[in-house]
C-alpha cells in the first residue's frame, strides 16, 4: 500500500510538472486513488487519466469566486429552522437529565450565549478505567454535588436549646463513597460551634443572646437550611451526576459543567470528554476547539430533529463566529454589529445609533458590501456583479 501511495504521489508530481495542473489533494484522496489502482487493476496511463479527471471534478466541486456562500448558508440553516418546533425540551441520551434542544438550543449556539440554559458534560474514561465501575462511581460522587441533606438519617430543630441536631447515616455516606473524616472537617470548618459526637452533630444557633424570641426562631431555621445545604463534595458548577453504561464502557453525564477541573482529574479521557458550553471549550482548549464545538453542537441539534444540513454551511457559520479569536455571536452584538459599512449596520438594527456614531466619527463607506449596494441601487459585487473590466490604456 505504502508503495502504491508513493506511486500515486509520483504521478501527481509528474502531472504537476508536465501539465502544470497544480494538484494538491488531501491525503484521503491519494489513499482513495491508491485503493482504486489496486482494486481496478489500473494501468499507469489509466491512473494518470483518473488523476486528471479527479482534479477536474475536484475543481468543479470548489466554490467559485463570487458565490454567495453566506446567503446560501443562511438559507440552508434557516429553512430547516422554520420546521423546528419552537419549544422542544427533550430528554437526550439519559432520562432525568434535561437538555435544551431544538430551536432554543440553536439560537443559543448562534447567539454565543455566555450562560447557556442547560450546561452538561459527557465524561469518558481512559482505556484502563473505562470498565472499572468502582472507580467510575467514586469519581462520580467526587464530581457530583452532595450536601449534608443527602447523608442524613435524622434531622431536628431543638427550640428548647436552640440547636440543630443532625444524625448522619453512615450507610449513605458509604454508598456515596464519601470520607467521614472529610465531612467532619467541613462541618467543623463551616460551623465553628458544632460539636460532633459520633454520628450526632449538634450545632447551636449563633445568636442566642438576642432576647427577641421570634427573631431567634427565624435564625435557627435559617441555620437549619444552611446545615442541610452544606456541600460536602463535588466540583464547582456541577450538580447532578448520572452514570451510564454504554455498550462497552462507563460514561458520566453531568448537569452543569466545569471542563477545566474535570480534565485535571485522573483517569479521564481527555480526547472524548466534552461539554456543551462553547465558551468554556474556547477558554480551556482554545478557539479551534470552540469552532469544532460550534459545528458539533449545531449539527447535533439539527440532526436530532431529523433535519440534515450540509456541514459546510455550519462550518462557515462557525468560522465566521470564531475568526477573530473569540467566540462572537451572529447578530447585533457580534458579526452584524461589527460590519465595516455604516449603511449595512444601519440597515440591520439600531439604525439611529449607527448613523449618529458614523456621523460623529466621519466614517466613510466604501460601498464594497452587498447591502450597501442594494440600498444605493448599484449592482452587487457578487456573482455576475463581481467581475469588472480593466483597460490597459497604455496600449490604446
Amino acid at each position: 500500500m505504502e508503495e502504491i501511495i508513493n506511486k500515486v504521489k509520483d504521478v501527481i508530481a509528474q502531472l504537476n510538472e508536465e501539465e502544470d495542473l497544480g494538484i494538491a489533494f488531501p491525503d484521503s484522496y491519494i489513499e482513495d486513488l491508491a485503493e482504486a489502482y489496486i482494486k481496478r487493476d489500473l494501468t499507469d496511463d489509466e491512473l494518470c487519466e483518473l488523476t486528471r479527471r479527479l482534479k477536474a471534478a475536484y475543481d468543479r466541486a470548489h466554490v467559485e469566486a463570487g458565490e454567495a456562500v453566506g446567503t446560501v448558508a443562511a438559507q440552508s440553516v434557516g429553512e430547516p429552522g422554520t420546521q423546528m418546533t419552537m419549544r422542544t425540551f427533550h430528554y437526550a441520551g439519559v432520562t432525568e437529565l434535561n437538555v435544551t434542544l431544538g430551536l432554543p438550543r440553536l439560537i443559543e449556539i448562534v447567539d454565543a450565549r455566555k450562560e447557556i440554559a442547560t450546561p452538561t458534560m459527557d465524561i469518558y474514561f481512559d482505556e484502563e478505567r473505562r470498565n472499572d465501575e468502582e472507580f467510575v462511581r467514586t469519581l462520580a460522587n467526587k464530581i457530583g454535588k452532595s450536601t449534608i441533606n443527602d447523608v442524613l438519617s435524622d434531622f431536628n430543630l431543638n427550640y428548647g436549646t436552640m440547636e440543630v441536631e443532625a444524625v448522619l447515616d453512615n450507610k449513605k455516606i458509604e454508598e456515596k463513597r464519601l470520607d467521614r473524616e472529610e465531612i467532619n472537617a467541613i462541618i467543623e470548618k463551616t460551623f465553628k460551634k458544632a460539636t460532633i459526637n459520633n454520628d450526632n452533630i449538634i450545632i447551636p444557633s449563633s445568636k442566642t443572646d438576642k432576647s427577641d424570641s421570634k427573631f431567634e426562631i427565624r435564625e435557627l431555621r435559617l441555620l437549619a437550611d444552611k446545615v442541610r445545604d452544606l456541600q460536602i463534595s463535588g466540583i464547582k458548577g456541577i450538580g447532578k451526576v448520572i452514570i451510564r453504561k454504554d455498550d462497552r464502557e462507563w460514561i458520566i453525564h453531568t448537569e452543569g459543567s466545569n471542563l477545566k477541573e474535570i480534565l485535571d482529574m485522573e483517569g479521564i479521557d481527555h480526547v472524548r470528554t466534552t461539554t456543551n458550553n462553547i465558551h468554556e471549550i474556547g477558554e480551556v482548549l482554545g478557539i479551534e476547539a470552540a469552532r469544532q464545538s460550534i459545528i458539533n453542537e449545531a449539527q447535533n441539534t439539527l440532526s436530532e430533529q431529523g433535519l440534515s444540513v450540509d456541514v459546510r454551511h455550519i462550518m462557515l457559520v462557525a468560522d465566521i463566529m470564531t475568526s477573530e479569536g473569540v467566540v462572537k455571536s451572529i447578530g447585533r452584538h457580534g458579526i452584524s454589529g461589527e460590519k465595516s459599512s455604516v449603511l449595512a449596520r444601519a440597515a440591520f438594527e439600531e439604525t439611529g445609533k449607527h448613523l449618529l456614531n458614523a456621523s460623529i466619527r466621519g466614517e466613510v463607506d466604501d460601498l464594497t458590501g452587498i447591502i450597501e449596494n442594494i440600498i444605493i441601487g448599484q449592482p452587487i459585487p457578487l456573482g455576475t456583479g463581481s467581475v469588472g473590466v480593466k483597460m490597459d490604456y497604455k496600449n490604446e
Binding site: G66, L355, I370, I376, G377, I380, T384, G385
Partner: protein, 749 residues
C-alpha cells in the same frame, strides 16, 4: 389623625377641610353662643393646628387644604376598601336578571361603618349568604394575610375577591343557589382542586351550553316535564328556572361529569346531554355525519361555512349593503341535521346539492381542483350575484358653497373622458340597468375649489370633479338607484351595481366536510363520464382528497344523499346517530344500486366503459366568496407613491407585486446581480441624482436656464448618478438630522 377624622365627621364637612373653614365655623358657633360646641370646637381646632405645625406644614391655607385632601385619600387606601357588591354581581348578576333575595342596598352611614370596621363588613356579608354560612369572606386588601395553604382563593371574573375554607361545599352551595334561582343562571363557578382556586364567571362572551342536571344518577328532567313541554304547559325558560337544565361554560364543564346518553348514566354523573349533538354550535352542527370526520376537518368546515354564499337576507332588494353576495338558486340540503332544522337553515340555505363523482379527470382535478359541468353552470348551478353599493351626497361647505350632482362640464378640473359620463342622466346620476365598468361615473358630482383665492384668474375658480366611479377592477349593471336626503337635508344618492357571477376557473367551492377546492376545468357535459342511467355528474372531485384527510362524513353524505334522492326523502344525518348506515345501504339496494354507492361510468369522450367502479353520490356544496374576478391581477407599469416613488401596494391601487426580502435573498444567493438591480432599481424607484463634485451633496437642475448648479458651491462641476429614490430620501432625512452625507464620486469599475 384620628382626632381630625373625628372632627371632620363631627362638623360634617363636605368639602376639603382647611383651617379657614375651621375659622369660619368658629365664627358661626360664636354667633349662636353655644358654649358646649365652642369648647369642642376649640379642642379640635387646636389639635388640627398642632397637627399641621408638628408636621411642619406652612400656614398657607391652600397648602394645608391640599395636604389634608391628600391625607384623607391616603387614609382611604389604608383602610378596608369599599367593595361594591353589585359590581361583582353574585347577587345581582348581569342586567336584565332579577335581583335575588331582598337585600337592601346599604345605606350611606352603613358604608361608613364598613370603612371603619372590616370585621363588621364580613359579618354583614354572611347575612347575604344566609345564616349558616361558615366560610370566611375576606376582602382583597386582606387576602394576602390569609395565605395559609388551606384557604381557597376565590376569583370573580379573574379578579381576586377573597378566600374560603371549604371550597367543595361553597361551590356546591353556589350551584344550588343558581338552580334555585337565587343567583343568576348566567353565573358559572369552577373549583380547581390542583391549584386550590375557585373561579366565578358572569361576564359576557363565554360560550355556554345547556345540560340536564343529574342527581344521584337520575336526571331531574322527567318524562312528565317532557309531556308538559309538548303540551305547551312548560317553556324552555321554565326548565332553566326550575333548575332542571343549566348552562355550563367551558370552565365549569371541567368540574362536571357528563353522560352522553341516558343509558350511560351512573351515580357519578353530574349532568346528562340533552342530545349528544347539542355539544356542537351552529356552524359545526350543519355538518352531516360530523362524528365520522376527523376533528380538524370539522373545525375547518365550521370556519368555511361562514364564507358560503346563500340567501343572506330576504329583503336584499331593498338594502344597500356595501358588498353583498347572493346565491341564485339556493337549495335545502338533502342530507340534513337536527341543528339545520332548529336553526331554520332551510329558509336561508347557502349551497346546492351537486351530483358528485369521485374520480380523477385528466389531471384537471389534482391538488384539490375540481372539474365542473359546463351544462350545469349554464343552467344556473352555483351562479351568484355580487352587489356593491356606492353613495355620495351634496355636501355643504363653509361660505355657502355646495357640491352639485351634474354631468360635469368639459372645463372642470379633473374632467374624465367623455366616455366615462355616457351613462349619466341629465341629473348627473346613472340610469338603472345600464352596463358599467370600472372607471365609469355613477354619480357625476362637482365640488367647489379647495381654496378661494383673491382674483387669481380662472384656474383657481374652477370647480373640481368629485364623481363616484365604479371601483377599479369591477363591472356590472346598475341594479338600483336611490335618491334621498341626508340628515342635514342635502341630496343623497345611493347606487347599487349588480354583477352576475357564473362560476369560472379558480372559484372556490367546498363541501360540508372541510373539503375545499377550486374549479380547475369547466367541462362540456358531453365530455363528462355518465352513468348507466345517463346521469352526468355536476362535479368531479379527486379521490385523493379523502383518505389522508379522513373526512369519512363526506363519503357517507354522498351515499345518504344518493339514497335520499332515490327515496325522494331528506335524510337526517345528525351526528352520534348510530344505525343510519345500514338503512341507507338497504335503500340503495332496493333501488337497484350498489350499496357502497359505486357505479360503472362511461367515458364521455369515447363512450367506453371505464374499468374502475366509480363512486357517485349527491353532496351539498357551498360556493365560497373567494372568486377569481375579485383577485386576478397583474401589473407592468402603473402608479407610484409620492413619497418614495416606489410602486403602490395592493390590487385596488393598481399596485406592484412585492419583491420581498426573501425573494431578494434568493437573487443574492444566485449571484444574479443585474437581475437584482433591475427588480430593485430599474423597475422600482430609479432616480438620476446630480451630485456636486465639490461638496458631495445633491445638485439642482434649473430648467429655465438649462443649467445644473450646486446650491452650496454654486457653479461647479456636477455628475449624474443613478441611485434609488429611496436612497435620495435617506440622504435628505440625514440632512434634516444635521448629518452631512457626502457622496464621493469615482469612475465606474
Amino acid at each position: 389623625m384620628a382626632k381630625i377624622n373625628e372632627a371632620v365627621s363631627y362638623f360634617g364637612f363636605e368639602e376639603t377641610f382647611s383651617l379657614k373653614v375651621c375659622k369660619d365655623i368658629r365664627k358661626e358657633i360664636l354667633k349662636v353662643k353655644d358654649e358646649e360646641k365652642e369648647a369642642t370646637f376649640n379642642k379640635y381646632f387646636s389639635e388640627i393646628k398642632e397637627y399641621y405645625q408638628e408636621n411642619e406644614y406652612s400656614d398657607d391655607e391652600e397648602l394645608i387644604a391640599a395636604d389634608f385632601a391628600g391625607e384623607s385619600s391616603e387614609k382611604l387606601t389604608d383602610d378596608y376598601p369599599e367593595v361594591d357588591f353589585e359590581q361583582y354581581g353574585i347577587f345581582a348578576a348581569v342586567e336584565g336578571i332579577a335581583v335575588p333575595g331582598d337585600e337592601e342596598e346599604p345605606a350611606d352611614d352603613d358604608k361608613d361603618e364598613i370603612d371603619a370596621e372590616p370585621e363588621k363588613a364580613s359579618s354583614k356579608k354572611e347575612d347575604v349568604f344566609g345564616d349558616d354560612y361558615s366560610f370566611i369572606y375576606t376582602p382583597p386588601a386582606y387576602a394576602h394575610k390569609h395565605d395559609n395553604a388551606e384557604s381557597t382563593k376565590i376569583y370573580i371574573n379573574g379578579e381576586l375577591l377573597g378566600s374560603c375554607e371549604d371550597p367543595v361545599s361553597f361551590t356546591q352551595e353556589m350551584r344550588q343557589k343558581r338552580r334555585n334561582g337565587e343567583i343568576s343562571y348566567e353565573m358559572n363557578i369552577t373549583y380547581y382542586e390542583d391549584n386550590n382556586e375557585i373561579y366565578i364567571f358572569n361576564d359576557p362572551g363565554r360560550a355556554r351550553r345547556p345540560l340536564i342536571i343529574v342527581e344521584e344518577g337520575k336526571p331531574l328532567l322527567k318524562e312528565d316535564h317532557l309531556n308538559k313541554v309538548a303540551n305547551g304547559k312548560l317553556k324552555w325558560d321554565d326548565l332553566v328556572n326550575n333548575g332542571l337544565i343549566e348552562y355550563l361554560d367551558a370552565e365549569e364543564e371541567e368540574n362536571s361529569y357528563i353522560a352522553m346518553t341516558l343509558a350511560d348514566l351512573n351515580e357519578d354523573h353530574t349532568h346528562l346531554e340533552i342530545d349528544p349533538a347539542t355539544m356542537l354550535g351552529i356552524c359545526a352542527g350543519i355538518i352531516p355525519f360530523s362524528d365520522h370526520n376527523s376533528s380538524p376537518r370539522n373545525t375547518m368546515e365550521a370556519g368555511m361555512t361562514k364564507q358560503a354564499l346563500g340567501l343572506y337576507v330576504s329583503n336584499y332588494a331593498l338594502r344597500t349593503d356595501t358588498r353583498a353576495h347572493l346565491l341564485h338558486h339556493p337549495q335545502t340540503p338533502i342530507v340534513k341535521t337536527r341543528i339545520i332544522d332548529s336553526t331554520n337553515y332551510d329558509s336561508r340555505p347557502s349551497g346546492q346539492n351537486f351530483v358528485v363523482a369521485l374520480m380523477s379527470y385528466e389531471g384537471y382535478n389534482m391538488e384539490d381542483a375540481m372539474v365542473i359541468n359546463k351544462g350545469a353552470l349554464e343552467r344556473g348551478l352555483a351562479r351568484s350575484s355580487f352587489f356593491r353599493a356606492y353613495d355620495t351626497s351634496e355636501k355643504r361647505y363653509a361660505g355657502g358653497q355646495v357640491d352639485k350632482f351634474e354631468v360635469p362640464d368639459k372645463n372642470i378640473k379633473g374632467y374624465r373622458s367623455e366616455d366615462a359620463y355616457r351613462n349619466l342622466d341629465e341629473d348627473g346620476v346613472v340610469n338603472p340597468e345600464s352596463e358599467v365598468e370600472s372607471g365609469d361615473v355613477l354619480i357625476g358630482k362637482t365640488s367647489p375649489p379647495r381654496f378661494l383665492e383673491e382674483d387669481f384668474g380662472t384656474v383657481a375658480d374652477r370647480r373640481r370633479e368629485t364623481s363616484v366611479t365604479v371601483r377599479h377592477g369591477e363591472k356590472g349593471i346598475v341594479d338600483a338607484v336611490l335618491l334621498s336626503e341626508t340628515v342635514e337635508g342635502s341630496r343623497l344618492a345611493k347606487i347599487r351595481v349588480r354583477d352576475t357571477r357564473q362560476p369560472e376557473f379558480g372559484d372556490k367551492f367546498a363541501s360540508r366536510h372541510g373539503q375545499k377546492g377550486v374549479v380547475g376545468l369547466i367541462l362540456s357535459p358531453e365530455d363528462i363520464p355518465f352513468t348507466e342511467f345517463g346521469v352526468v355528474p355536476d362535479l368531479i372531485v379527486n379521490p385523493h382528497a379523502i383518505p389522508s384527510r379522513m373526512s369519512i362524513g363526506q363519503v357517507l353524505e354522498m351515499v345518504a344523499g344518493k339514497a335520499g334522492c332515490l327515496e325522494g326523502e331528506r335524510v337526517d344525518a345528525t351526528p352520534f346517530n348510530q344505525d343510519l348506515e345500514g338503512e341507507i345501504k338497504q335503500q340503495l339496494l332496493n333501488h337497484g344500486f350498489e350499496s357502497a354507492g359505486c357505479e360503472s361510468l362511461y367515458s364521455g369522450v369515447t363512450g367506453e366503459r371505464i374499468d374502475a367502479e366509480i363512486f357517485v353520490g349527491v353532496a351539498y356544496y357551498q360556493k365560497l366568496h373567494h372568486m377569481t374576478t375579485d383577485k386576478v391581477y397583474a401589473r407592468s407599469r402603473g402608479p407610484v407613491q409620492v413619497l418614495t416613488r416606489q410602486p403602490t401596494e395592493g390590487r385596488a391601487r393598481e399596485g406592484g407585486l412585492r419583491f420581498g426580502e426573501m425573494e431578494r435573498d434568493c437573487l443574492i444567493a444566485h449571484g444574479a446581480a443585474l437581475t437584482l438591480k433591475e427588480r430593485l432599481l430599474d423597475e422600482s424607484d430609479k432616480y438620476e441624482a446630480i451630485v456636486c463634485e465639490n461638496c458631495g451633496m445633491l445638485a439642482v437642475y434649473d430648467r429655465n436656464k438649462n443649467k445644473k448648479y450646486c446650491p452650496i458651491c454654486g457653479d461647479v462641476e456636477t455628475y449624474p448618478v443613478e441611485i434609488s429614490y429611496a436612497f435620495k430620501l435617506l440622504l435628505d432625512e440625514l440632512k434634516s438630522l444635521c448629518i452631512f452625507p457626502k457622496l464621493v464620486l469615482g469612475d465606474k469599475a
